[in-house]
Symmetry: D2
Subunit: 364 residues, 4 copies
């Protein structure tokens, strides 16, 4: 039997190590991919360090990936109806197995909170098989939603955004942004960059991006920000003053938190105009509490605050369609800092943690 | 010239004192009222104690009042088109003078954040005249929105709710409550009681009310709550557990904060289901910051938080229509704890501050 | 093997006839019910007369039914988590088999337009088995959403509304009704009666119901209408004038079409205020075109028109919760005109067609 | 006293004629403009032909205009706070005098339906003075909302769109368009072209424009349409088929009717996907009824239809901000077919009526 190599996180706090796995023949409804690229995301650093609860170590990380179809067992079309066959280059929605039966799925209609949902590269054990992207091959289980990459899109156009592309899209969608809205995006990692790009694509007015380091602020400008603010150069109140100066003295119509840093939250409120909307999408892990003033920040401000937890499939497909149409304005390929082979997975994690690259990708 | 007596707050920290004012002949577009009742609200305690900024002391308090028309100069109809004449019993929207010209009025379309707005009993100096309800007479300036009380409604039906009636209505409206939504109302003062009553009138599912003292919790049950939770008997986590028990283990679809107590905010998040809505309406004054966890409370919870600042005229007129139609289920007259004459204004303030009465009213 | 009797529509235009079917042992995930009651709906008349396309005759009609569990194979809870066992009285959502994979399910998120959806009593052939309610027994396929009837609700409380109960709920939900909205309901059959009841439960202002015959208008008043208008007594413009008189001269905030009669549509527009919402829910079958004036009815009126196609499971469960809580105000048991045994199915169809009963039910 | 020339429509059915008017000194709050350009709109053809009710002939047409400030009496800033002084180039919102006191203004909050609203060039008699743009000078009454044109915008950038620019913006806003939505725009006059431009600016997916003549279809492509369909070449069903082919077989997510032709409405429904939104904005005048099938077009389609009546000031200011930011993608100056002097007003009307020019402008 053929084997595939994978970079495995065996236990919290341990570096990635290379292991071999048998390559299965796909069962009915399954698809076997040859991995073309898989992202290294900030979440992967958290996974290595053991900061997420309930992770079934050992795992093969890599939630958003692109691969070429080796074999598709009884699957002839992708989730949106395009033909799919051996040789097709496909992306797939890492979240699946939502149950369609629980309160979240049926009544609240927010499957992103379904307790049954599984995520490639995060909630599967390596013992379950090739269910993460840092491997030569990936097995797509029955029902995993695939989208064949149109030929006008390169693998890099998508993987340069990684999961942040879809999370950023979901944040802009959740914001119900309107033509001309002034926007602050807090954080200039992949989620923040995607939020900037999709806000600009939505016809936003002034966009101000806040974050470090300088190289990411440059990317923010390429994605469509008008102005960037560094964290080191000024204090919160000075940055808030800059935002007011850029928004007729009022503060931004919309603030999108994409930093994961709790301190961003009070600053975001200070940047928000009366009656504005504040989308919090960057707090994927628990980084502690932060002081909020219910009178000043919410009540008197008549503010609206919306949490966005990950994304749903409709975000995924709509984001890809938008990327295809407006790709010259959304240069995610340029976000890729470096390609790493499987043996370099730990280097990739270190570089992401140190913010030395904005988007690292694994190319097995 | 005839004179009217008024209870005046001359300076922050000073008790109310009785003063005499000349009763003006109403100018064009103005209406002179004989005061039938004016409320004593928690805000009036704040005004006495100097906790609001920018108040032009001395002032005549009393923002929500009901009066009988003595003379109407060139005004023959109320704001919704009903005939108005000497002898008519009218309520009036205490907020007025929104400018229709600023960003808030014209573009954001939230006149409750218009910087020009004035409020009877709060933003007018006694030097401006009889522009507060704790007086024998009230002068309505041109353009103040009046609503003639239909004869099926008593003065008490309205004034027993006071401004809280309209603020509670606005909170339920802002919540976009839907049939069957489970609701927690934090706070059982006039705003909370109104929120309970209007949530019930909207077809809410389970309603749990949280607050002190016991007499107010009894009123909460009369307004439509299914269950009440005391602050003294249990800790936050126990109360949150009670809410989950009452909501299929999920937490409430909707939480309305109507307490003004910052500690209510973390508790409210703990009571909210994933994807729920949290309306914060009780923080009319600054009571400091409170710890919020952006990951747990907002992001992972996919929550939506909405501040509601006061009310607008459309809330006022719709609340009165709703009160008229469903008055047997909204017993605000029963909320009135005691009637005070003008000379007893300080007693009224003390009783409100000590929570000895839920709604105190001034009857000159 | 035991057999069950069923009333079968063998072909379009033919009367119902009694047939015997083997009673299967439920397979894994299946539930066998003993039928307690099944409704006779206007759609069943259309089915008998062949006015729906794509119906796989012969069929066992009866889409909304209540039954007692005879045997449940591996199913211990209903769709909302309540215990379910032999002897439980259950209702079930007649629509099922939505695919969770198509554009409608995944992207548009309106499974009521999923092309894979199947409906008990309509889209199944009698050759498929006991998949309609006009039978001694009903077989629930795996995944059919059941809700155990709480003991405070009688079979009649639910079946008196039948599918109209849920469709009417969905219409009110789609309307995003708000406290105090004035409402016109066109049609006083089960859908219209439910729309009246749920609009009243939602805190509507004036409700005017329009339709025939007089007995149904009496039921409309019991469900919460303030006023009813007959079709025979007046012309469209006179009825519209009555609506304007009841709504301050403006027309209704909300009109719900629940008649299935195309002529209701121009009348509905005439009754709608500028900026009002018009929900069209009654046109389950094609009754032809109707003249609409885009300038007068929609554009100048700044109107919003919303079609509601059937209901989704979240409507079903929320409607049952609402029915449970407010059942004393929603007397659907009183809507039942007569009970028919299986042998009387044709009599039931004739009585429904002739409007001799508002809700006919089959009790095998 | 100085005089100004104006082109006047003296009575329905009569050609425009040149008249002289005294140029007033602006009173308090008033502004006198020297006209730089005024549009000729399809409505002006209707005004000449007497197809609008209640027009106080004789009138000076020209509702959307740009002028240079000659004298501003006590006005130092425009409606959004920019400095305004003699020499400033300003546009102004032609709709004004909304009352802030009626049901539409106060409760429905849709001042575009306020019965007191007045419109420059339409609802004023020439006897009222220079209150239309087809004149050497225009007098802005107190409270007319002005916006100083930023220097990056030329007069042509705005007047090339005319009122259609703002109406088209309002239609896209009313549509609540989302990233990637497929759009059909029916009509390629100024409203349709603006709808195309602002839909594209909002990140729409495929945009298909339908209309005549060919020169306007070319402009539609410049504004961002992907594909145009002629009326002459094909029948409704063929065009609908083309739309389905461009939208994955489903029909468009959004259709915007901007044609004023009733026959567009059934075609628009045929082009709309299940659950899509249909905004009807082009029916400014009554062109008769049209057959709609409530079952096929609305109910089974689960459609949402929204009328948009004109625009509000917030559309105006947001549209100008958007135009400023994205002007290189919104080439309205290119829409101007010809400039006409006042003496050529009838030629302009004839050319507009015959569709010989897309946008005609009067340059006195």
């Amino acid at each position: 039997m053929r084997t595939a190599r994978a970079a495995v996180l065996a236990a919290p706090g341990r570096p990635a190590e290379l292991r071999e796995f048998p390559v299965p023949a796909p069962g009915p409804g399954e698809i076997l991919l040859e991995t073309l690229a898989s992202e290294v995301c900030g979440t992967d650093v958290h996974l290595r360090d053991g900061r997420l609860a309930g992770v079934p170590y050992p795992i093969i990380p890599g939630h958003v990936s692109v691969g070429r179809v080796v074999e598709a067992n009884g699957v002839a079309r992708d989730a949106v109806g395009n033909p799919l066959a051996p040789g097709s280059v496909v992306s797939f929605f890492d979240v699946h197995a939502t149950c369609h039966s629980c309160y979240q799925c049926l009544v609240a209609r927010q499957p992103n909170r379904c307790p049954s949902r599984r995520v490639y590269g995060i909630t599967y054990s390596a013992a379950d098989g090739l269910l993460g992207g840092w491997a030569d091959n990936i097995l797509l289980l029955p029902g995993v939603r695939t989208v064949v990459l149109p030929e006008q899109l390169s693998v890099e156009d998508l993987i340069g955004g990684g999961c942040g592309l879809f999370t950023g899209f979901a944040a802009v969608d959740r914001a119900e942004i309107r033509l001309g809205d002034s926007v602050v995006v807090q954080g200039v990692g992949p989620v923040g960059l995607a939020a900037i790009a999709f806000a600009r694509t939505s016809g936003a007015g002034t966009i101000v991006a806040v974050g470090e380091p300088a190289a990411r602020r440059d990317l923010a400008l390429r994605m469509g920000a008008d102005e960037t603010l560094a964290l080191a150069d000024a204090r919160t109140e000075e940055r808030a003053e800059r935002v007011r100066a850029a928004t007729g003295g009022r503060g931004a119509d919309l603030v999108i938190e994409a930093s994961g840093n709790p301190r961003a939250v009070p600053e975001g409120f200070a940047m928000l105009r009366d009656g504005g909307r504040y989308v919090i999408v960057g707090h994927y892990t628990d980084a502690g509490t932060v002081p909020v003033n219910p009178h000043v920040d919410i009540n008197r401000k008549h503010a609206e605050v919306r949490g966005q937890w990950g994304s749903e499939f409709h975000h995924w497909t709509r984001a890809l369609d938008t990327l295809l149409r407006y790709r010259e304005r959304i240069p995610f390929a340029a976000v890729i800092g470096r390609r790493y082979c499987l043996e370099e997975a730990n280097q990739a994690l270190d570089d992401v943690e140190a913010l030395r690259v904005t988007k690292a990708i694994i190319v097995p």
